[in-house]
């Protein structure tokens, strides 16, 4: 039973990996990677790493891949560039050489554990309880360093992906809104005094006639804000 599951999961994982590399559309590559990660989680379960498998599915296949899908949707597939001719031949050759080398290393190893079935299973091996206990006792430093690293990466991503001009660029984009905001209007309209009834604007218009309206208009209107040049961000 476990052998059948192993071969199913292994074939699915390798197929997913090949799909990531071979598929032309990056979106399909991401989907292939999701399948690969889920198959890998099955392999982790077979190795009795329950918590790692759950984290793999939830964090990796769930959260990180959603980030990928968003970026692929934002950037778009675009035209796929072919690799340079030298690398297109040398790349797979290098991969094949590494594969042969790793196989030789594995076949030639004198480690008896590699051909064995592993240590006898102890109850509670790889459970969240055990992993959590280890994280907060023996590996506390690694745990804290990982949290700091996550914080730095989040700040770094925000700094990298922000708009270069900051807030001014966004304001300049909305020229129409600014123009409407600075439309000529009677004095005291929209003020707190008007709403409180201290200076009724309507009454003032009636008293002074249309001259007030022109006078009250802000002088800024003449100089239009320069239109933002499209495509610099």
């Amino acid at each position: 039973m476990s052998a059948v599951l192993f071969f199913l999961a292994a074939i699915a994982a390798i197929t997913g990996a090949i799909g990531v590399v071979m598929l032309r559309n990056p979106f399909y590559s991401v989907l292939a990677l999701v399948g690969h990660l889920i198959a890998l989680a099955a392999l982790f379960m077979l190795l009795r790493a329950e918590f790692v498998a759950a984290a793999q599915v939830v964090v990796y296949a769930g959260a990180v891949m959603v980030l990928y899908v968003f970026v692929v949707a934002y950037v778009g597939g675009g035209q796929e560039y072919q690799a340079g001719s030298a690398l297109r031949i040398l790349g797979p050759l290098f991969a094949l050489a590494v594969a042969v080398e790793l196989c030789i290393a594995m076949l030639g190893t004198a480690l008896s554990g590699v051909s064995g079935h592993g240590a006898p299973y102890v109850r509670g091996f790889g459970t969240p309880k055990q992993i959590g206990r280890l994280f907060l006792t023996d590996y506390l430093f690694a745990f804290e360093a990982a949290s700091l690293l996550l914080l730095v990466a989040a700040v770094g991503a925000v700094v990298l992906a922000r708009r270069r001009r900051g807030l001014e660029a966004e304001e300049a984009e909305d020229v129409e809104f600014q123009r409407r905001l600075h439309q000529p209007r009677p004095r005291y309209t929209g003020s707190m005094a008007e709403s409180a009834g201290l200076r009724p604007a309507i009454q003032e218009i009636e008293e002074a006639g249309p001259a007030v309206i022109e006078e009250a208009g802000p002088a800024v209107i003449e100089q239009e804000p320069a239109l933002p040049t499209p495509g610099n961000d």
Partner: protein, 99 residues
């Protein structure tokens, strides 16, 4: 299954990822291939943890996952930044890091 089988699967996945990093030119796909290589290493770590009956390898795999998430975040931030500047999304064109 013997531990060696898991290591063989891990080696195959690692080599596929390495080949992908060398042959593809879209940085998004290169990041995906990096994920493949990190996951192959994770599989080997978990297999060795099973071999020794010791959870240290699983802890190591979890930390590798955290580092991979950080790498993805920064890498995708870079790609979005490149896209905003209307540069080609192609690693061969992006050999200089000046703005």
């Amino acid at each position: 299954m013997a531990i060696g089988w898991y290591l063989a699967v891990s080696a195959i996945i690692f080599c596929i990822g390495a080949g992908g990093v060398l042959t593809r030119r879209n940085p998004l796909v290169i990041l995906l291939c990096l994920e493949l290589m990190l996951n192959a290493a994770n599989l080997a770590l978990v297999a060795f943890a099973r071999m020794w009956g010791n959870e240290a390898g699983q802890i190591f795999a979890l930390i590798v996952m955290v580092v991979a998430a950080c790498e993805v975040t920064v890498g995708l931030g870079l790609i979005v930044s490149i896209y905003r500047r209307n540069l080609p999304i192609d690693v061969d064109e992006l050999h200089e890091l000046h703005g």
